[in-house]
């Protein structure tokens, strides 16, 4: 086990970790913001609205992320029209392409998760809300969405961890993330443990940190589902 190589490559790994986390953060933020209105549209009674969103999620969930990334990064650059357009300033950049691909893909999965959670709303809640005259925006923002987002938390945590794992794919389009650093170290020194082993340890730590964060979130937001403790004793326990 060549520790010297590991120590020498640590600065590169630090840069890689930064890239991975930034990519994860920006993709997560945008996909969360997009998924909420899309989920509302997905469960809307309007057939057109619901089906359009369904088509989007179906296509994005039915094709591999790698292929989606290649289409955006390599594919769009093929067209003269794209290269002349105003959007090119953005599409030229590997970061933008990766962010776009991850956002589109993650939004699709998150939309389905939130839509499922919305559909699982107890019928009584909606009835009660309508009885109070709540409708439209207020209905969603005060009653439906808070409940749905809470319900979706466990599955959403899986999606976030999946997104963090998916950022490894960004290593295929010149972004220097953890996986790219590991592949370079492997290509230059041909040492699998020192390269991919280190990357594995780093990803492991990141994964479990995320799991921990979500446990805390669940403790806060799903407190009402935890088993009740410290009930007052009906009969005082015998000493």
């Amino acid at each position: 086990m060549d520790w010297q190589i590991i120590i020498d490559s640590l600065p590169q790994y630090a840069g890689g970790i930064r890239t991975t986390l930034v990519l994860l953060a920006i993709s997560l933020a945008s996909s969360l913001v997009l998924a909420v209105p899309l989920a509302v549209a997905r469960v809307s009674p309007s057939w057109w609205l619901s089906r359009s969103v369904w088509l989007y999620t179906y296509v994005l969930r039915g094709t591999p992320l790698l292929v989606q990334l290649f289409i955006i990064y390599h594919g769009l650059a093929q067209f003269e029209a794209v290269r002349e357009s105003a959007a090119w300033v953005l599409l030229k950049n590997a970061w933008f392409c990766a962010w776009l691909a991850f956002t589109l893909n993650s939004t699709a999965y998150t939309t389905e998760i939130f839509a499922g959670a919305l559909k699982a709303t107890p019928v009584g809640e909606i009835e009660a809300a309508r009885a109070y005259g709540l409708g439209g925006f207020k209905l969603y923002s005060r009653v439906l969405l808070p409940g749905a987002l809470r319900r979706a938390l466990p599955q959403y945590s899986n999606e976030v961890i999946g997104l963090m794992h998916a950022t490894a794919i960004a290593s295929t389009v010149t972004l220097v993330d953890i996986t790219r650093v590991a592949r370079d170290v492997n290509a230059n020194h041909l040492l699998v443990t020192e390269s991919f082993g280190v990357a594995a340890v780093i990803y492991f730590v990141l994964t479990f940190s995320l799991v921990g964060v979500f446990r805390l979130l669940e403790r806060r937001f799903l407190r009402h589902l935890r088993p009740q403790v410290d009930l007052p004793q009906a009969v005082p326990a015998a000493a």
């Binding site: 650059a77 030229k92 950049n93 010149t174 592949r183 370079d184 230059n188 699998v192």
Partner: protein
């Protein structure tokens, strides 16, 4: 009970899948050769799935001389050395330059061609190609190559965009993701500059010779460390095809100049 069945099927599967081959006898009658298939005109794949190109022809010629049964295995440039090490193939004939760094991980045959590297960019974009002129500019180069090392050492003020394979240098350049590319002179010529995407681009500045054959560099055939018998065979074959004109025929098929480099 199910555990027994599962274990049994697993054991059977594990025996059925890998074929325990005989130790590669010193005769080397069967050789697998790693090729990139993505680096015209040295190596490319045609629509029907057949490989063609300078590297492919040289490899076939060497095999014919050694009288070995050769299979070409296409491999991403990114994982070329690790795949050799993992015994996915026995030789790499993929325009791999001989460098001191690479010699630590693999053995090389004698150099079989040597060409300079060239700068390539929009015609007239840089009148001079010096570190000063390229300060702050983005240079595209293939990662983990002597060209990349050259740039990292000499062009410290420029931004270096490292791509996974040589074909992507011109692809990213055409896409406008860099200001100038630093690649292999002949691959850049034949494939890119002649293509529709290559109009408006040309070679800039003077060709740069990095570690030529005379200094122990050039482009060679890589093999695992210690495979001396194979190395001798390949070197003998290389000398033979150079002497008997087979090399020249292959050279002239693809290039106007002699690229043997000695």
């Amino acid at each position: 009970m199910i555990r027994r069945y599962a274990l049994a099927s697993l054991l059977i599967a594990s025996f059925a899948v890998p074929q325990a081959g005989l130790a590669q006898a010193p005769e080397w009658s069967k050789i697998r050769i790693g090729v990139e298939a993505n680096y015209p005109p040295f190596s490319q794949m045609s629509p029907d799935g057949k490989f063609s190109g300078f590297d492919i022809d040289i490899a076939s010629a060497i095999c014919a001389h050694i009288k070995a049964d050769c299979t070409m295995v296409s491999q991403e440039w990114d994982g070329m050395m690790p795949a050799l090490n993992a015994k996915k193939f026995d030789l790499i004939v993929a325009s791999m330059s001989i460098t001191e760094d690479r010699k630590k991980s693999a053995d090389f045959s004698d150099s079989y061609y040597d060409i300079p590297s060239t700068w390539i960019g929009k015609t007239g974009s840089f009148s001079q190609v010096t570190p000063a002129a390229l300060k702050g500019k983005k240079i595209i180069v293939t990662r983990n190559t002597p060209r990349a090392r050259f740039l990292q050492e000499n062009f410290k003020d420029s931004e270096i965009l490292q791509v996974a394979k040589e074909a992507e240098v011109t692809m990213e350049l055409a896409a406008g993701r860099g200001d100038i590319g630093f690649g292999s002179s002949l691959a850049a010529t034949a494939a890119f500059l002649k293509s529709p995407q290559g109009t408006g681009y040309s070679r800039l500045g003077a060709p740069v010779m990095l570690g030529g054959a005379a200094q122990g560099g050039g482009v060679g055939i890589a093999m695992r460390k210690g495979e001396d018998a194979l190395r001798t065979k390949v070197n003998v074959a290389l000398k033979a095809i150079t002497a008997n004109g087979v090399y020249k025929t292959i050279n002239d098929k693809y290039f106007d100049v002699n690229i043997r480099g000695e």
